[in-house]
């Protein structure tokens, strides 16, 4: 297996394809018979022997027609891939342990549809199948199971097809420069106590989450958790949604500090604890800041803030 693996490595060694769209040319399409193809070949051999033994003229013709079909099918499998254009898309971050999806845009500039294309990243168990209509495009997300936080590069991806006859498999290796941010897996632990805020005078007490002080119209940046559903329902969607406003939140800011995590724990655990805090704080609708050695994010809330915190945790050097 080691020999085969190294041979494969040598044969199919590709540089990264970068971020530009790539068009499959004949030099990067490979073809081999499938197991069904080998079964078919064995059947043909048996049939040829039978045809010779019984002197069946039409038996010869049948065997030769089927051999021709197989060869033609091989060319068609090649044609199913040749000239296909693949462009990388943008991937959304996921938590470690979840499946990261790498979107690829396939474009077909031929009139014939390209059917039964299967994409599989690296040695992943899961694959994804797609088809591209004639002169059409299709978007397909290649699944990769993430294992650890940080950047996950799309492993070398195999785009394969056995269409039309399943006797041959044509494939090509894609290596677009794509990476997906993997957040650390959050560890659920109780939130640290609220920290007294040093610069309490700077703020005038609105925008906090402690004391209800009235309604205002919802902005796109407001969390859905703060929507006053009952109040909004009263005028049956005539107006934009209302959000509750709170006053005097200055004392309720959370400082999620690296120093608050157990010092004896390994780095990954401490990262996981911090990630768990970020998730919990966001869930509670609190304003929170993150303090890591060499990196500090000032308190805020919302999806973008959470992403910035989790990104900092994901990329924290171990």
């Amino acid at each position: 297996m080691g020999v085969i693996a190294s041979l494969q490595q040598r044969l199919f060694r590709w540089q990264s394809d970068g971020t530009a769209p790539l068009r499959l040319a004949q030099r990067r399409i490979f073809i081999l018979p499938t197991r069904a193809g080998l079964l078919f070949a064995a059947a043909l051999l048996a049939m040829l022997t039978g045809a010779i033994n019984y002197s069946l003229a039409l038996g010869h013709a049948l065997v030769f027609l089927l051999a021709g079909l197989a060869l033609t099918g091989m060319v068609h499998a090649f044609r199913n891939l040749h000239g296909l254009t693949i462009a990388p898309g943008r991937c959304l971050p996921v938590f470690a342990g979840e499946v990261a999806y790498f979107p690829l845009h396939l474009a077909n500039d031929r009139a014939m549809p390209r059917l039964a294309l299967e994409l599989r990243a690296g040695t992943e168990a899961a694959s994804v199948a797609t088809a591209v209509a004639g002169h059409g495009t299709s978007e397909v997300a290649v699944p990769v199971v993430s294992t650890q936080r940080g950047w996950l590069d799309l492993p070398r991806t195999r785009l394969a097809t056995t269409f039309p006859l399943g006797l041959f498999i044509a494939w090509s290796y894609l290596q677009p420069a794509m990476r997906c941010l993997i957040y650390p897996q959050p560890l659920a632990t109780p939130l640290p106590p609220l920290q007294p805020v040093a610069r309490a005078g700077d703020r005038h007490g609105d925008g906090g989450q402690e004391d209800f002080s009235g309604f205002r119209e919802r902005q796109p940046a407001d969390s859905l958790r703060h929507v006053a559903w009952k109040a909004s329902a009263r005028d049956s969607a005539q107006r934009p949604l209302l959000v509750k406003q709170f006053a005097g939140g200055a004392q309720s800011e959370l400082q999620l500090d690296w120093a608050l995590t157990p010092e004896t724990a390994p780095t990954e655990t401490r990262i996981a604890i911090l990630a768990g805090w970020v998730m919990a704080a966001e869930d509670e609708g609190a304003r929170y800041g993150l303090r890591l050695p060499g990196n500090e994010i000032s308190p805020d809330s919302g999806d973008l803030h959470r992403h910035r915190c989790l990104e900092a945790l994901a990329l924290f050097p171990s």
């Binding site: 004949q26 069904a36 079964l39 078919f40 059947a43 048996a46 049939m47 022997t49 039978g50 045809a51 010779i52 033994n53 019984y54 002197s55 069946l56 003229a57 039409l58 038996g59 010869h60 013709a61 049948l62 065997v63 030769f64 027609l65 089927l66 051999a67 021709g68 079909l69 060869l71 033609t72 099918g73 060319v75 068609h76 090649f78 044609r79 040749h82 000239g83 500039d109 031929r110 549809p113 059917l115 039964a116 299967e118 899961a126 694959s127 994804v128 199948a129 797609t130 088809a131 002169h135 299709s138 978007e139 397909v140 997300a141 056995t162 269409f163 039309p164 006859l165 399943g166």
Partner: protein
């Protein structure tokens, strides 16, 4: 986009598989035992029902049980599980059972591969044109099934069939090249099972009353011959099969011991002809009397029957020649003459008494012969396909009681009388006559032309042919069996058709079949050598063949690959119109550099050619709209804007 495990089978693929399985097994109904067809049909119906109701497929044990039952049945029916017929029966059973096991894509692949394999088995039974066409359709269906299986639900039925047709069209050149050039080996490679060539009719090597009359009921073709010279008169066309010398009172049998080689004295020059004989599982060649210039692989028995070393088990072509006027074995061995005088001691005493009375009156063999023939023609004898049954003394019963018979009755009775009168005589069976197909000029000899006649040895003349049937019904020899038989005799309708369009149609069809047989089915190692030497490949050595074959196949594959690489550049219609606009501009000495965008061009034109600018501004605006806004109506605006360019 869809995500699905590769191995599960789409629900919609099953009908394709059922249809393909049906198409590949159905023609076997003709020759299979009824119970087997019924079992297969039931299994098909069950599989179809389960699919229709979307129910679970049966588990493993019911299937194992069914296989055991079917195998038991086949073993009981054919006494073996291997052999040709039993093997085919088992394949049909497997195919039907596999339909109850369609779970994954691999199962479907097995069904299709088995289907391809089953197609071959049909050729054991028939290689006719209709079989060929049916199987072509079946291949198409199987291929479409494979395409549907791998193409997934995105592919429509019409697209599936069209793709299958395209694949088959492209596979055709490969088939032709391989068919013509693949080094042919004359089979068989090993001993064939006993039932390999069963079920073909023809002359047998024995004759009892009724044997030939039965054969005459078939309009199947026995042989076709093409003469280089004009076709000889019908009355001269005696195709000799086995010569029967031993009589046990009921059955005539051939002599097994080898005689010496015959001596033929030719009285006319030989005429050449080519004959294509249908497989009849016997060694005789049915050569025209008397065979001349035989090829070394063909033997000639002491009784003038041309024979092969092996039984003829497939249709074969021979180049032969015949001398129609000849003398044969003027000096005959004593033991042969004695053998041809022998009669069973207590057989047919009345006939014996009659012959002895003739001999007492006049012992000259020629006049005795004449006497017997006159007896047949003047007494009340009838020529019929439906003679009454004869008793324990068949010759006596025929000569004195029933007096109705077919050629074997006359030949048998005549030889009996001659032997009883002391003239050496024997029965010859074969075919007499034949019909010229006006479409291709071949002489077609059918089973209904089967005939039996007599040969009498006369000192100084050797063995002389006598056809006692001619004494009763001269038309039989001159005009064939249809002319000789009164209406109401059970002749096959095919040969009874009088000259009308239907008969022409039959002739045409048989001529087409003949071409098929000669050129498609009859393409054998010898024909291949001939073709190759005509193509300039010296002696059809397999190495030369392999090289030619490899080159041609590689060329075809290259052409096909070229076709798949070739792509007509398809410009966007708006871009095409823009190119047109640029060509119009070039007439006004304004050229657009390849790197220049439409807006940059417009700016340059506004500075350098202010007169041109308003028209171009319209064109650029319309082009940008048409190309990038995605509204099809903008093309019209663009076209009219271009028309306004100077």
């Amino acid at each position: 986009m869809s995500t699905r495990p590769a191995e599960t089978l789409d629900h919609d693929v099953t009908p394709w598989l059922l249809a393909a399985a049906l198409a590949t097994t159905a023609p076997h109904v003709i020759h299979q035992p009824v119970w087997l067809s019924a079992l297969a049909a039931a299994l098909f119906a069950w599989a179809g029902w389960l699919w229709w109701r979307n129910e679970r497929l049966p588990g493993r044990w019911p299937l194992v049980l069914l296989v055991a039952i079917a195998a038991g049945g086949v073993l009981f029916e054919f006494r073996t599980l291997f052999g040709r017929d039993a093997g085919v029966a088992m394949l049909v059973v497997f195919m039907a059972l596999k339909l109850l096991e369609l779970r994954s894509r691999r199962d479907a692949t097995v069904v299709v591969t088995l289907g391809y394999f089953l197609l071959l088995t049909h050729y054991f039974y028939s290689q006719s044109i209709p079989t060929g066409l049916w199987l072509l359709a079946a291949i198409m269906l199987l291929t479409a099934t494979l395409i549907r299986l791998h193409g997934g639900p995105a592919i429509s039925t019409r697209a599936t069939l069209r793709h299958a047709g395209l694949l088959m069209l492209q596979a055709l050149p490969f088939m032709l090249v391989l068919y013509l050039l693949f080094p042919r080996v004359a089979g068989p490679l090993w001993g064939l099972p006993q039932d390999a060539h069963s079920g073909r009719s023809g002359l047998s090597d024995q004759m009892t009353p009724g044997t030939i009359a039965n054969l005459a009921l078939s309009s199947e073709i026995a042989l076709r011959a093409r003469f280089v010279d004009p076709v000889p008169a019908r009355g001269k066309l005696y195709w000799r099969g086995p010569v029967l010398e031993n009589y046990d009172g009921l059955t005539w049998k051939p002599e097994r011991s080898r005689g010496r080689a015959p001596e033929i004295e030719t009285l006319s020059s030989p005429i050449a002809y080519e004959t294509t004989i249908e497989a009849h599982q016997q060694r005789w060649l049915l050569a025209l009397d008397a065979p001349a210039n035989l090829a070394p692989e063909i033997g000639l028995s002491g009784a003038l029957t041309a024979t092969l070393r092996e039984p003829l088990n497939h249709r074969q072509r021979f180049a032969l020649a015949a001398t129609l006027d000849y003398r044969f074995n003027v000096d005959e061995e004593k033991r042969v003459l004695t053998r041809n005088l022998t009669l069973p001691p207590d057989a047919s005493p009345r006939a014996r008494t009659l012959a002895e009375s003739w001999k007492a009156a006049d012992p000259d063999p020629a006049r005795l012969m004449q006497k017997a023939l006159t007896f047949f023609s003047e007494e009340n004898f009838f020529y019929t396909l439906r003679p009454p049954l004869l008793g324990e003394q068949p010759v006596d019963d025929f000569l004195f009681v029933t007096r109705r018979g077919f050629c074997e009755h006359y030949a048998s009775a005549f030889v009996f009388l001659m032997r009883a009168a002391g003239v050496p005589a024997r029965v010859v069976t074969g075919y007499q006559g034949g019909e010229v197909n006006p479409v291709d000029g071949f002489v077609v000899v059918r089973q209904s032309d089967a005939h039996a006649w007599a040969e009498v040895w006369i000192a100084g003349q050797g063995w002389t042919r006598v056809d006692p049937t001619a004494a009763v019904s001269p038309v039989r020899v001159e005009g064939g069996i249809v002319a000789a038989m009164p209406a109401g005799e059970p002749l096959p309708t095919l040969i009874r058709l009088r000259s009308d369009w239907l008969r022409t149609l039959v002739f045409r069809w048989e001529a087409v079949n003949n071409v098929w047989n000669q050129y498609v089915l009859g393409y054998n190692p010898q024909r291949q050598r001939e073709l190759l030497s005509r193509l300039g490949i010296p002696d059809g050595d397999w190495r030369n063949l392999a090289i030619t074959l490899a080159i041609l196949c590689a060329g075809l594959l290259l052409a096909l690959t070229g076709w798949s690489l070739y792509q007509r550049p398809r410009l966007d219609p708006a871009a095409r119109l823009w190119q047109k606009a640029l060509r119009r501009l070039a007439r006004s000495k304004v050229n657009c550099a390849p790197w220049e965008t439409p807006l940059a061009l417009l700016e340059r034109v506004e500075n350098d050619h202010p007169t041109l600018a308003p028209a171009l501004r319209d064109v650029v605006g319309a082009y940008l709209q048409a190309r990038y806004s995605g509204i099809p109506d903008n093309l019209k605006t663009l076209r009219s804007a271009i028309a306004r360019l100077p």
